[in-house]
Symmetry: C2
Subunit: 314 residues, 2 copies
C-alpha cells in the first residue's frame, strides 16, 4: 500500500468521519517527561476509530456489491462501525454476533441500522454463519482488521495527527487485530518526519509481541484482560506491515492498564476504553524512551459500560 | 459592564486559557429535538471555567497589589483556579479552606502553588480568616463569583461559543454563585444574535430561582445536592445582571442531574461534574422550548472524584 492510497482514502472518507480533537495535559507531559498528544478517537462517530476503516471498505465496493450489502462478525466496535458506515452510505449491513453478546451491544448495532444475526459463541460458528450470508445474499465480507481498505482507513487518524504535529518522534497505538497499528505505521512512514510507530499490548494477550519475535502469527491460549478490544489476533494482511514498520511492542499489566485509564479520565477529562489506555500505559512503562520527545497516542475509543468500571462507586 | 470590557477581558486572558473544544452528538440532538453545542470547559486549564475569571481578576490588579498577593475562600474549583492563575502570573495566592475539606482538594491547591490556610468550617470563620490575611499581608481579596472582573472572565466562554456558532437561540449554564451565568448573560446580550440566557439549578438549592421571583437574594436552608459546585448563593454584583438578562431558571431533581450526567459521559465521552450536567438536565426537562432551536450549553468543569461516582462498579 502506497502513499497515494492513503491520500485517496482520506479524501474519500472525509465527509463521513470527524477530524477528532487532539488533547494535551501539562501534568501528563510532566509525568512522561516529554510532550504527549492524544488523538481522541473516542470522539469519533459511534465512539471509535473503527468508523474510518469501515467507511473506506464500503466505499471501495462496486455499485453491484453495495446493492447486496456487507457482512462482518464482531461483537465490538467494528459491528457498530460497519452498521453506521453502511447506514450513512445506503448499504445493508449484516452483523454476525455470538448469542452470548450483551443485549446493549446488539441494541447498539440495531440502533445504527445493522441486521443482527446471532450464532453460537465459537469461531467456527461465526465464520460458518458469515459464509452463509455471503452465499445467500451475495453480501461482501469485510474483516474488522485484516483487510487492506480497513487498514488504510484506520491510518487516517495518524495522518490527521501528523497534519497538526508534523514532527512527532513517536506514535503509539494499542494492538488488537492489527488494523489500527498497521494503518498507523504506514501513515507514520509516509507522512512522518522520522516518526516511529510503537504498539502497546496487554501482557495477558501478547500474541503480537510474540509474533514479532517468532516471525509468524501467534495466538492467545487465554484472553483474560480488561482491554476487551485487544483479544483478537493479527492477520496475513496486516502482519507483514507490522513486521516492516513497527519499531517495538511494549507489554503492560492489567494494573498498569487500569492506572493509565484512570489518569486519562482524571486528567484529560475523557471517557475512554481500557483498550485505549493500553497505549498510554506503554508510554508510562518505558518512559525513558519518550523523555524529551514528542509522542502521539491514538485514544482508540470510548464505548464503555458505566456500570462496569474498575472505579466509581466507593 | 459594557461590550468593550468583555472584548478587553478576552484579549487580556487569552494567553492564559484554552479556547476549549465544542462537542456535538447526533443522538443527544435527537433526544432534544434541536441542535445542541457543548462548550467543554472541563477541558479548561485546572479543569473548569473558573480559570477565566481568576486570571482576569489578577490581571486587573496594580503592580503594587500583585506584589502583595491575592486571597480567596473556596474549597472548590475557584481555589485551584486562583492558585494556578496566580502561579502563571507570578503572584502569591492564599487560599482559605475549611479544615474539613478533603485532603485531595488541599493537595490540588498546593500542586498549583497556592498556600492553604485552614479554618473552622463556618462562613464566619472563613471570612474572618480571609480578612486577617488581607490585614496582615496587604493581599487583595477576590470573591469566587461576586466580582466584576471574575464575572467578565467567565463570560468569555460564551464569547468563544458565539464566535463558532453566532446564531445560537439559547445559551444554558448551571447556576451556583452566579458568576458564570451573569458573565454568560452579558456575552449573549452583547455578542449574540437574539440569544437568550437560561439557567439550570438543582431543586434542592433553588435560591437563584426564588431570588428571581422575590426580587432579593434568597438563601438555601439545606444544600443536599450532588452538584456540589452549586451550593453557593448570588451576590450584589451578579444578581442585578441576572435579573436584567436571564430569561428564566429551570429547576431539576437529583435523579435528573445524574441521568443527564450519565448521558454526557456515555454519549459525549467526556468526564464532567454533576454541576455541569445540571444545565443539560434543564434542557431535557423543558425540551419543548428547545425543539428546532440551536442551544449552547456550558459544560462547567470536570473535577470529579472517580471513587465517588453515582455509577461505576456494579
Amino acid at each position: 500500500m502506497d502513499k497515494q492510497q492513503l491520500i485517496d482514502c482520506q479524501n474519500r472518507i472525509k465527509p463521513f468521519i470527524h477530524n477528532t480533537p487532539i488533547l494535551t495535559s501539562r501534568l501528563l507531559d510532566d509525568m512522561v517527561g516529554g510532550s504527549v498528544f492524544f488523538k481522541c478517537e473516542n470522539f469519533q462517530r459511534m465512539g471509535a476509530f473503527k468508523m474510518r476503516g469501515a467507511a473506506n471498505a464500503i466505499m471501495q465496493l462496486s455499485e453491484a456489491q453495495k446493492q447486496n450489502g456487507v457482512v462482518t462478525h464482531s461483537s465490538g466496535n467494528f459491528a457498530q462501525a460497519l452498521s453506521l458506515a453502511a447506514q450513512s452510505l445506503g448499504v445493508k449491513a449484516y452483523i454476525v454476533m455470538p448469542s452470548s453478546a450483551p443485549q446493549v451491544k446488539k441494541n447498539a448495532v440495531k440502533g445504527y441500522g445493522g441486521k443482527v444475526i446471532e450464532c453460537e459463541p465459537t469461531l467456527e460458528a461465526r465464520e460458518r454463519e458469515s459464509k452463509h450470508i455471503v452465499d445467500s445474499y451475495g453480501a461482501t465480507f469485510i474483516h474488522p482488521s485484516n483487510d487492506d481498505a480497513v487498514i488504510l482507513g484506520q491510518g487516517t487518524a495518524c495522518m490527521e495527527l501528523l497534519e497538526s504535529y508534523p514532527d512527532l518522534d513517536f506514535v503509539v497505538t494499542p494492538v488488537g487485530g492489527g488494523g489500527l497499528i498497521a494503518g498507523t505505521a504506514l501513515a507514520a512512514h509516509y507522512f512522518g518526519n522520522s516518526c516511529a510507530t510503537i504498539g502497546g499490548e496487554p501482557s495477558e494477550v501478547d500474541d503480537a509481541y510474540r509474533s514479532l519475535i517468532s516471525g509468524k502469527i501467534e495466538t492467545n491460549k487465554t484472553t483474560q484482560t480488561i482491554a476487551d478490544g485487544l483479544k483478537t489476533q493479527l492477520g496475513d494482511r496486516n502482519f507483514p506491515i507490522i513486521q516492516q514498520h513497527v519499531q517495538k511492542i511494549i507489554r503492560v499489566t492489567e494494573a498498569e492498564i487500569v492506572a493509565a485509564m484512570r489518569l486519562l479520565w482524571e486528567r484529560l477529562k475523557i471517557v475512554c476504553e481500557p483498550s485505549s489506555a493500553v497505549a498510554f500505559a506503554a508510554v508510562l512503562k518505558e518512559k525513558n524512551q519518550f523523555v524529551g520527545k514528542k509522542t502521539g497516542i491514538i485514544i482508540s475509543g470510548g464505548n464503555v459500560d458505566l456500570d462496569h468500571l474498575p472505579f466509581g462507586r466507593s
